[in-house]
Symmetry: C2
Subunit: 411 residues, 2 copies
Amino acid sequence: MKATIISVGTELLFGQTTDTNSVYLSRQLQLLGIDVMYHHTVGDNAARFRRILELSYDDCDLVVTTGGLGPTQDDLTKETVAEALGDALAPDPASLASIEAFFARIGREMTDNNRKQALLPSKADIFPNREGTAPGFALETGGRAAVCLPGPPREMTAMFERSARPWLAGRAEGIIYHRTLRTFGIGESALEAALEDLISAQTDPTLATYAKEGECSLRIASKRADAAEAQRAVAEMQGAVMDRIGRYVYSDSDEELAQVVAGRLIERGLSISSAESCTGGMFAAALTDIPGISAVFDRGIVAYSDRAKTEELGVPRETIERHGAVSRETALAMARGLKALTGSRVAVSVTGIAGPEGATDEKPVGLAHMACVFDDRERCEEIRTRNVSRVWNRRYAVLHMLSMLLREISD
Amino acid sequence: MKATIISVGTELLFGQTTDTNSVYLSRQLQLLGIDVMYHHTVGDNAARFRRILELSYDDCDLVVTTGGLGPTQDDLTKETVAEALGDALAPDPASLASIEAFFARIGREMTDNNRKQALLPSKADIFPNREGTAPGFALETGGRAAVCLPGPPREMTAMFERSARPWLAGRAEGIIYHRTLRTFGIGESALEAALEDLISAQTDPTLATYAKEGECSLRIASKRADAAEAQRAVAEMQGAVMDRIGRYVYSDSDEELAQVVAGRLIERGLSISSAESCTGGMFAAALTDIPGISAVFDRGIVAYSDRAKTEELGVPRETIERHGAVSRETALAMARGLKALTGSRVAVSVTGIAGPEGATDEKPVGLAHMACVFDDRERCEEIRTRNVSRVWNRRYAVLHMLSMLLREISD
């Protein structure tokens, strides 16, 4: 099955909104074994939309649209798609009832143009919208299929998962099973080099690497006639991959590093506190992003000034004077001081030069020292990024802290 | 001038990469007075790329492409565009020399396929690539214009700014001048309602609102024959807008709220510390994201547990017991304690329920209390979000803290 994704909406052409829907749908369709040939974005213009639709059905048997299902004059998706597939709009009583119920629930008055949202192609399978008012639908006539979803990402993804995916799964050939291994501490080219023969010999399962902001993922996917077979093929390849680069892999289910670390801390009931300088609270923010972390996270100290390092964490003035605020010694003193202060079983710290200012000849932008004290075990690490930007340096330091922490608490 | 943007690259159709280039280019073209009619994404396939090119020139006189300029077999942009515009590829000596110099500089050996990158359409204006190896170009024949840029965003934006923008500016009709006002504390529909007559009467300058994660921007744009005239028209409209909603506007140059707050703190030399509970360090992280903030930011305390609130900030146990950790009283005690501890002129605090757990009947998810002590002036505020998600609740609380802070230090 070959598909085209069409995003409808003039606002997308102004460059004020990034089209994340196409990215999501590409990934989801691929997992269903559907090949995506094009993404198109058109404004709210029926003639141009019609041309793109016709072009799409030259190559593809499926078109997935997002947007243009709303109540206003601009919203033309239903009419245009129904026409291209030889259908016409008719009122759908169930959709009308649920739009009425939605307005009753939020206590706002329903306008006439909201009623228009219950007009749908007469031969379509209707997809209810529990997150908003505009229903979606799937329509198939004469070898042309269309799946039409709302534009707001939250409504779109919910409707895809609940209604569109099952509809499509019933039509797709084969089943794709995949796993995403997430790594830290190895670059994309080193990862590829380590797996070169596996990647180039690939037919099924396929292996692909993806670099993303300091991390690198590896996707293993297999498309087979049945799920168990695909799963077995992926598991076998995963074993071969883990033998080579297993020490860099922190998740085989596409979790964020912070999520894995928080999960492990909660599971082991390890209390934790953090002391940050250059990252300015980003480590604490990343960890506290995970629901349930309050069971173990006690506190974080953002000791930005030297005075704060001394007053809050008891870092001796002489340590800072002799070795500098960005040093192994200061990082260790921060973690030790934090541990004494809080009694947390794990205390982590970081101090570094995020840039663009603050560098010296020996201490370049991108240098950071980290320490972890876990019960009576101490560990210090140092990183030197290639100074891409302040944002990157701070983010990479947080990832490295999380990675160090994970190694410490995983033994 | 009407334009189509085409992104070339199979990897974009897999959904592993978000196409930020189209967003950037849409905005830039619009500022040049060029209307963007379509975005298309195609894989590395000459036949499909050719079809999209032909379709584009039916409506548009300009096509801007990104990607497909690299050294591999897959990279087909130059050949395909040259063919569509009746030109052919020829070696460009200057490009070859600069590719050779690039490899010499990074100390890697240059392969034969890198030489291919110096083959360019014979009638094109060549755009050098200082961030990478693949040059770009602009080509115009028989009423069809094409601007071809590399795919990596850093290379693309640098080349656009240095070469493509001046090339296009020479061809565009009129000059667009615009200003983006950023607001906080007013929703998009309320903003529209307040400006309804101005928006619906608009021809030039145009007025458009954009909602984005808790904030709302307003873009005023004018397209005139000369820059001074456009600027005057925008300034006049800005005056009319400010009369109505000025109190919500925190920037008229599209700056982030954190940037504006940090700028004001640095300018006034006001030392600041923060105490956070529910936001877990995000406020400190947002502020320390701004270069130069170390001149005023002393420290941040992430007092996540009740114990930390008492130990670090001296919040009396009874305050927490009587009013709860999420209360006006606790927020105020946190800010007061922080001020006493640090001596910072400004102390801000927040405590709230980020969710999904932790709510009670009186204290729903999304509730947060904030306090600010600036010298001897104290202020408390409360927000209740509509509990969209933990991420949203935390982010909104940070924005509100920044907004409260800005009001306090702006008098």
